[in-house]
């Protein structure tokens, strides 16, 4: 009964500060590249799924005025879930084909932070809390409290999460430096990434200023402009279009209670921000659907959504690639390097390239490239049979997991 779906083509723009194109042109570049890579013409595309999180710079529903670039009239679906947007869009594209309603679907996700009027839009995190902050200010919160929060603004809830995670796992700031340095080095091999530093060392990262302990400026992701797109096809078409489709073997996207605060700063019953129950459950469900019983043996690499370095360690544990609290040991042993036994984020990951809407889609796209053998200089030097693409978002309570592999589910 279940239909097999594969990614047959990928396309992305270079990510950075793109002032020479407008949003529509940027999206078109990624979408057209994906269709070319997939060997499909716009007429062969049955439907389009899109998403972005334009943080209130005043450009909403871009696909409404950019529509012609995809060959309107076509069915569209718009999905926007914060940091997981790209992953949610990737799932939307998958489900569109898996449902049997469409055979070929284009999924595009993007962000153009540099168009925003507000600096706060750069991570979208400030705006998640904005309405809550307005509410709290009107309840007589002190200026000192507001100042204390603002000092960590670039990092928000992630900074508290880092502190919880370090306590839980015993990892140290030097491990965060190591993850960040690896990300910059890997990104230097990826022609589409934003922050590249070919020989970056943990000491280089350690020289950067503190934002707020435990996070340094060297640990913080950039705010990038960029778009990424994939084309999905059902099994018969996929096999005709390419010799090596990247099969979607399992997806899941569980939601947890918002961490730290609820609507208008109500209390929420999560005390350990590093527990991330929804990620654990999503991974279990996705592996089950993919028929993967032992992820440590069967998964060959992972693209973890890590705008902050502790998240690479934390989420790689939550998707069951390492024991709880032990990922830093694997890091020290070099297992997570590009040529290691469990490469994490060979593309550099979100730490080095963060166009919010696009970032979680890029994780799926990068896994597809690795399975298809098309990752160029950052291709991992081993056979990639199964890969995990992870995304997180919300008040660290959303997760998207996509298992990508070199053969369809049985």
């Amino acid at each position: 009964m279940q239909r097999n779906v594969a990614i047959i083509g990928c396309g992305q723009t270079k990510h950075g500060r793109l002032r020479d194109v407008n949003t529509a042109e940027m999206i078109a570049e990624a979408a057209w590249k994906a269709m070319e890579d997939a060997n499909v013409s716009p007429d062969e595309v049955d439907a389009i799924v899109v998403g972005n999180m334009q943080g209130f710079g005043g450009i909403y529903d871009t696909e409404l005025w950019a529509g012609e670039l995809f060959g309107a009239p076509k069915p569209f679906l718009r999905i926007t879930t914060g940091g997981t947007t790209g992953g949610s869009v990737a799932h939307g594209g998958y489900y569109s084909v898996a449902s049997g309603l469409y055979d070929v679907v284009l999924a595009v996700a993007w962000e153009k932070h540099s168009d925003s009027k507000e600096r706060g839009a750069s991570t979208g995190l400030a705006h998640v809390a904005m309405a809550n902050i307005f509410h709290t200010m009107q309840q007589g919160a002190s200026i000192k409290w507001l100042v204390s929060l603002a000092t960590g603004a670039a990092t928000g809830v992630s900074a508290f999460q880092a502190s919880c995670y370090m306590y839980r796992s015993g990892c140290k700031v030097k491990h965060l430096d190591m993850v960040a340095a690896k990300s910059r080095r890997n990104a230097a091999k990826n022609e589409y990434s934003h922050l590249r530093w070919p020989n970056c060392t943990p000491e280089d990262i350690a020289k950067t200023e503190w934002v707020s302990y435990p996070l340094r400026f060297g640990h913080v992701c950039p705010a990038s402009d960029g778009a990424s797109a994939v084309v999905y096809a059902e099994e018969e078409i996929a096999k005709k279009k390419t010799d090596r489709p990247a099969w979607i073997k399992g997806v899941a996207a569980y939601a947890d209670e918002p961490n730290l605060m609820g609507e208008n700063s109500q209390g929420t019953a999560i005390t350990d921000l590093s527990e991330q129950l929804q990620c654990i459950l999503s991974a279990k469900a996705a592996y089950r659907r993919a028929g993967i019983k032992n992820p440590r043996k069967e998964i060959d690499m992972a693209e973890i959504y890590q705008p902050f370095p502790h998240q690479e360690l934390m989420f790689s544990e939550r998707v069951d690639l390492f024991d709880d609290g032990k990922a830093w040991i694997a890091l020290e042993e070099g297992q997570t390097e590009i040529d290691g036994s469990m490469p994490l984020d060979p593309s550099g990951g979100v730490l080095s390239t963060n166009a919010i809407g696009s970032s979680a889609m890029q994780r799926v796209l990068e896994c597809a490239l690795q399975v298809m053998g098309k990752a160029g200089k950052h291709q991992v030097p081993k056979d990639v049979k199964n890969a995990v693409a992870h995304g997180w978002g919300g008040a660290t309570n959303f997760t998207t997991i996509t298992i990508v592999g070199d053969s369809p589910r049985k």
Binding site: Q139, K144, Q266
Partner: protein, 170 residues
């Protein structure tokens, strides 16, 4: 087929909250959970809501238990002592630093060289963490798991600032 049940809820009328961003000014409706929270702060008490089904305690109060999927109408006071579950250390405040368009040292809000320590605290009896500031401590000594107690403002006004923060207990 189940009958459509009448849902009664004991919230008071909603509270208008104003906000603004690049798109424009807006106004949305919040519940009045902070009203009861503030009334209790004035009496140096931390109040939460407790779900009759699972017994979870939410501080500040929440009106819906999402796990049991029911309204919460009971209240309970929790301890003003607890533990630190997470913290962040700001860089030392310096005169001339612009934060949110103001100079906090110049304004007297913080002292020159002061390190601000936003933290999350689990007060005993609560199943949630409250985000506040850690005071009267050397930043080098801060650890997750530290035992702390509430620091109350000298003059209590029934505002969130009545809870100035927490400080370590010996």
């Amino acid at each position: 087929m189940a009958e459509k049940k009448q849902i009664k809820y004991k919230t008071k009328e909603t509270l208008a909250t104003e906000g603004k961003w690049a798109v424009g000014e807006y106004k949305y409706k919040a519940w009045t959970h902070h009203e009861e929270f503030k009334e209790n702060l004035k009496q140096k008490k931390l109040v939460g809501s407790i779900c009759s089904s699972c017994g979870r305690v939410f501080v500040p109060p929440t009106y819906i238990c999402g796990r049991c999927f029911r309204w919460i109408d009971k209240r309970i006071v929790v301890s003003d002592k607890g533990v630190i579950t997470g913290f962040v250390l700001s860089t030392p405040m310096r005169k001339g630093m612009k934060i949110l368009g103001m100079d906090p040292v110049e304004m007297g809000v913080v002292a020159e060289g002061e390190v601000l320590i936003p933290c999350t605290v689990k007060f005993h009896g609560s199943d949630t963490i409250v985000q506040t500031m850690l005071l009267n401590v050397d930043p080098k000594d801060v650890r997750v798991g530290m035992k702390v107690q509430a620091v109350w403002a000298k003059v209590l006004k029934g505002q969130l600032s009545d809870l100035e923060g927490v400080e370590p207990i010996e």
